[in-house]
Amino acid sequence: MNTTAVLVFDILLVLSLLSLAAAALTTRDAHRSIILFMAFGLVLALAWGRLMAPDVALAEAAIGAGLSGALLLAAVREQPRQTLTAETKAVHGGNDAGLKVILQSVVILLCVGLAATLSWALAHAFDSAPNNALAQAVQENLATSGVSNPVTAVLLNFRAYDTLLELAVLLTAVLGIFALGPARPGYRSAGPVFDSLAHWLVPVLILTAGYLLWVGAHAPGGAFQAGAILAAAGVVLRLSGQRTVGLPQKRVLHIVIAAGVGMFLLVGLSLLVLGRPFLGYPPAWAGGLILLIETAAMLAIAATLLLAFLGGRPQSQRLHGTLQPVTPTLRSGQDAGTITESRNSSEEKRPC
């Protein structure tokens, strides 16, 4: 009985995925498409859970739906609420209707063709017996990899070079964002209810991040999920009106964002000097080295995602004199207006 039940569940899940994706992609209004995109991300996390990929489900929910959604919402907040007229303008701005219709039909044809060929090729790939060579190789070498969670073993030991370059991608993104100018002006405090929520939610999030980092060695979790949850704690702090979100200033901030790549290089090159291959951890120390690298990577990922949400380097408190308390205390007496004045002060006018 339960195989048909599972099949029904699969079909429902797949249909909801497709409809959410289609809705998010065809709606005219930017706000609505972001909310639909976040919903799509959460249902996709459900699909990862169903396909027995818990690590990916955690990352998808935290990064794919959560933080990407937060980044998009922060970006759309600044745009005037312009929804398009009836039909979407062609990308190359061809405003006469004829060209646009041709272009749209060509693109739709292209996409349908792509879907057909992809499915045809994938169906063929599934026909041939699944090639388990790599999965067995991972199982065999798992014992000497220093961790018992196979995904973490692949990410931080067998294919550690991929993760090193991926952290370099994150570093490039944040350096690009720094070069583009100062952070967004801060948020007004959202009132006492949200502040009290933030008051106890942020410590729990930080605790969860530490737990996920630790548990990554033998169960689903790891540096990326932990970093995303730490960034989520920062986002909550930021939404409750806290300006610098506890991020360090100038020099220390650079050390934190380069921590992931730096630690990887430190470990890799010191092993090279000791005569072992680059990133070839000796089995005895592998667990410890992986945890060391994961801690640095978590800090780098959290700082990068948070700075992306802020939009650049946070303006330090002392710059314009309002010495706000670091922890969000209950500001029952103070009305929300004080932050408004400080926000409209010279902050935006100051050249970057």
């Binding site: 959202a190 929520l197 939610l201």
Partner: protein
């Protein structure tokens, strides 16, 4: 015996989810929809987690399930308040 009780709990939880969704679709204005969603879904989730804790192998998972419920409870209450506050501000301002 435990299976019957937990499946009973889960089915009743789903009943509340259904009520919440119907409330979302049918109720006229924002505030009543918010009301329906946060109340029904939280209760549904409570029953769901209660049903699941019966199946939990050890105490640690049961505590984690309870923590999930508490976190969702707080988050949905706070966000419902924020949405209502934002809507109220926009009404008074326009």
């Amino acid at each position: 015996m435990i299976d019957i009780v937990s499946s009973l709990l889960i089915v009743s939880g789903l009943g509340f989810y259904l009520a919440g969704s119907i409330g979302l679709l049918r109720l006229p204005d924002l505030y009543s929809r918010l009301h329906a969603l946060t109340k029904a879904d939280n209760l549904g989730l409570g029953l769901l987690t209660a049903g699941l804790t019966l199946h939990a192998q050890d105490l640690f998972i049961a505590i984690k399930l309870a923590l999930i419920w508490l976190a969702v409870l707080a988050a949905s209450a706070a966000s419902a308040h924020l949405i209502a506050q934002h809507a109220r501000r926009r009404e008074t301002r326009t």
